[in-house]
């Protein structure tokens, strides 16, 4: 799951996959803005076959929180 998550984030934010790590977040990824976030969500839902509800979306501000929410969904 971690590699797929890294790849989705890297593709969305147009950075090398190697640069995505547990510290990656809205604060340090240049292309992570309001629009980029929604692109990320669409890509994650496609990649993992899940849907995120609004309370989950509001928490998804970093690699770690996304990873945790995906784990909660059994990914």
């Amino acid at each position: 799951m971690n590699e797929r998550l890294r790849n989705v984030m890297a593709t969305t934010f147009q950075v090398p996959a190697e640069s995505i790590n547990e510290n990656s977040s809205a604060e340090n990824l240049e292309r992570w803005d309001s629009f980029g976030f929604l692109q990320l969500i669409t890509s994650l839902e496609d990649e993992f076959g899940v849907n995120f509800d609004e309370t989950e979306l509001l928490r998804m501000t970093s690699y770690k929180t996304i990873q945790s929410i995906l784990e909660d969904k059994g990914i």
């Binding site: 809205a26 992570w32 803005d33 309001s34 629009f35 980029g36 976030f37 929604l38 969500i41 609004e54 979306l57 509001l58 998804m60 501000t61």
Partner: protein, 355 residues
Amino acid sequence: MKYAKYLRRYEDRDWPAFKQMVQRMYGPKYIFNNKRFVDWQHRHNGSPSSLFLIDLGGKLKGVLGTIPVSLNFQGRDLFSWCYANLRVDPELRKVGLGVALIEHAKAPDKLVYGMGHSDEMTSVYRNLGWRSNVLLKRYLHVLNPEHVERIKTDDTPLETSRRPLAVAFPEGSCHQVRFFDESTDAFWQNVRSKYPITLNRYSSYLNWRYADHPLIPYQIFVSKNSSGDIEGYLVLRVEDSFGYRVGRVIDFIAMDSAETSLLRHATCFCEASDVDFIDFFFSGEFHMSALCEAGFVSNDSPDHKDIPMLFNPIDRNRKTTNFAYFLPTDELRSAGDHPDQWYVTKGDGDIDRAY
């Protein structure tokens, strides 16, 4: 659409919570703290409510203000929306709520435009299909060189006494008026082809925007020919800020024959009113010769580039403001995706504030 359940229109009962949100997100001096202003701009503008909110279980976390407008779009009237204000609680940024507000407020197939967005929003708007990187020009006319030299480098308030504003200022063909009468509509029909894409300046709109503004006392100058027909108007706001007095040209529409005389008349008013300098923000290539004839100079010039646009406190980084537009159909994109054909002034936004 993501977040749809959190998005709704402002209602009267929201005022207490809305004001709390505004104070938290903008500070106590922001114009949205004034209910008269909010009601005027978003409740009494021809729409039942044109203020959209992010409501997280009773807690307001963001706002988008919109204004219904009629555009002159290449000769025809086009109902459109002007986005005047977008803000999301800092704790909830970068999670798509701003985009959700923008998309939620957008009426299908309607042109939308707005001005004064942040650098961060420039890329967001661009990614949503807007043209978002258009800067307004700024022209200045220095009336008090000593004060203007000081403001280029000194960040402390200027302490000086000021004369009151000039009153009842008729001169030649130009007159100061309190509102726009119905003859303005015939004038607008005659002059609108000069401005390919711009707000329709019908008297009903102009009176709502300037004469009936609940907080700002605009100075309105009208030029008439010998037959009494309107040939142009200019709207000015005199701003006292940080000890300086600035004349802001907020709106200016004129036939070629009246451009220079109106600008000179406004300049005379400002000289009589102890104004330090006049400025005018606009898009496109409109009125350029008349501005130069009347003594205005672009802020790109070496003598003017260090004159700040924002005071209290003085901001030495921002030099101008921007605007963005979204054209929803191929037909509109083909006819309207030409920034130089857009005539936008500070009067288009709600950013025309004294701070």
